[in-house]
Symmetry: C2
DNA sequence: AAAGAGCACATTGCATGCATTTTGCGCGAT
DNA sequence: ATCGCGCAAAATGCATGCAATGTGCTCTTT
């Protein structure tokens, strides 16, 4: 629906493969934070020539995963926990705006059919099986993007996608592993989802905004909890290697 | 202060020159909205080889001025007035967040020295001379960026810069030409600036947010006014050629 | 031992050739 | 007249060579 962001452009091209591979490897922690990524070094590592590598580096820098070096080249960016908390809060602010837009721009309640159908499914049973957990994450992601679409604003969609590129900022990153996750939190989240949809349906824009914004706090709480307690487990999460406290 | 965005990276490099030139020419309307920009076509036009041109196109696409074509290449993006209104509103939401952060994170009132010194100068005398108008725009821009900095959030700064890349979305684009501009609006804006700083100083985060958000509405009103009335004059503004109603 | 200069190497910026894919046009068939 | 096919031209994707600049190390000097 929106002007598609540059990350999902083509397919089957070297550049695209490199962006995916590099992003995954960076988030996995294969490069230490602050490390310079040289084009030639990546040539041998990624089996590609310098040109597509250069483009991939450009794109990842635009995503915010790399920092351009003033004299040329890029280094792996590091994120403080404050950076990440801010990124989550910004995402919350933007999702709040999306929810408000959705409420303000709703024409027919039938437009809510798809989100509503998602609602009863976004709950988690105890004990958590890996499959149900994966499905939970996926449903969560689907729900949030559905709200993005209900906002009917390509501009906002675009900014949301940009803001979610930061590690841990995306809504589906709000939970980490079944082991760390409190099932009760899932119920709180589900209730918030329900309330958001209700507010949209009632055209209560301000309420929808406040709810969506508060909803993003779950991600922040989870983040803090994980980084406080379960350090070893958390360090295996994608992106965790880039976090410097 | 923040992780510098990719647009201000280097200097004296072909790529950098091309980004500036191309952006200016696109905003000036030298290419029609929707037109495909081919690398070879630009080679002769910009006197550069394909490699830096390709990079420049990538960057402009990330800014949102170009749309990637799924099968490769880029075309000049067009903006509906709704797109632009949304972009302004998003900027308002983000600046509201910046003002709130500034209020919440203020440590010593002395930090406000610089914005306060800006305040009494952001007024416009009648009649408007071109110089005083240019100075007015510059001061306005400085004020807004100072608030961005007071938010003490690199993540937010980054998103603000990104959001302001859209034509007419930036705060300094809120006014167009001395002829169109109502001097009274400048006084309203100045009062809003004053109130925002006051709210920050009093640590009234919510008020600061609401004020900054509302403040962005001036840009929107101006936009609507200009596009309704003074079509010919408006069409000479940078970016106006990309607006399709 | 510390600091500075100089040099060799590493790295990026740019240019350009080749191969593949896309695109647009013209022609023919229905 | 319209639709579809096929071909030619054009455009991008990729690879690689060259030049200029930056980087880091060593060696010298104080």
């Amino acid at each position: 629906m929106p002007a598609s962001p540059i990350t999902t452009v083509n397919s089957n091209t070297q550049t695209e493969r490199l962006v995916l591979t590099l992003r995954a490897r960076i988030l996995k922690g294969e490069f230490s934070a602050g490390e310079r990524l040289t084009e030639l070094g990546l040539v041998s590592l990624l089996r590609a020539s310098r040109t597509p590598i250069r483009i991939a580096l450009e794109r990842l820098a635009n995503e915010g995963l790399l920092d351009p070096i003033p004299t040329g080249g890029f280094r792996v960016r590091s994120f403080s926990t404050i950076d990440i908390c801010d990124a989550i809060e910004i995402r919350g602010v933007l999702e709040g705006t999306a929810a408000r837009f959705a409420a303000e721009r709703l024409e027919r309640v039938e437009e809510l059919g798809r989100v509503k159908r998602l609602l009863p499914r976004v709950i988690l049973e105890n004990p958590i099986s890996p499959e149900s957990f994966a499905q939970f994450l996926d449903l969560n992601r689907t729900f949030h993007r559905e709200v993005w679409c209900l906002a009917k604003s390509p501009s906002l969609f675009r900014e949301l996608e940009h803001a979610c590129k930061i590690p841990f900022a995306a809504p589906e990153a709000l939970v980490f592993s079944p082991a760390d996750y409190e099932v009760s939190t899932a119920h709180v989240a589900a209730e918030q989802h329900r309330a958001i949809v209700e507010a949209i349906e009632n055209r209560e824009g301000s309420r929808a905004e406040a709810l969506a914004r508060e909803h993003s706090r779950i991600a922040r709480r989870n983040l803090e909890a994980v980084f406080r307690s379960n350090k070893e487990g958390a360090s295996r999460l994608p992106g965790a290697a880039l976090v410097t406290h």
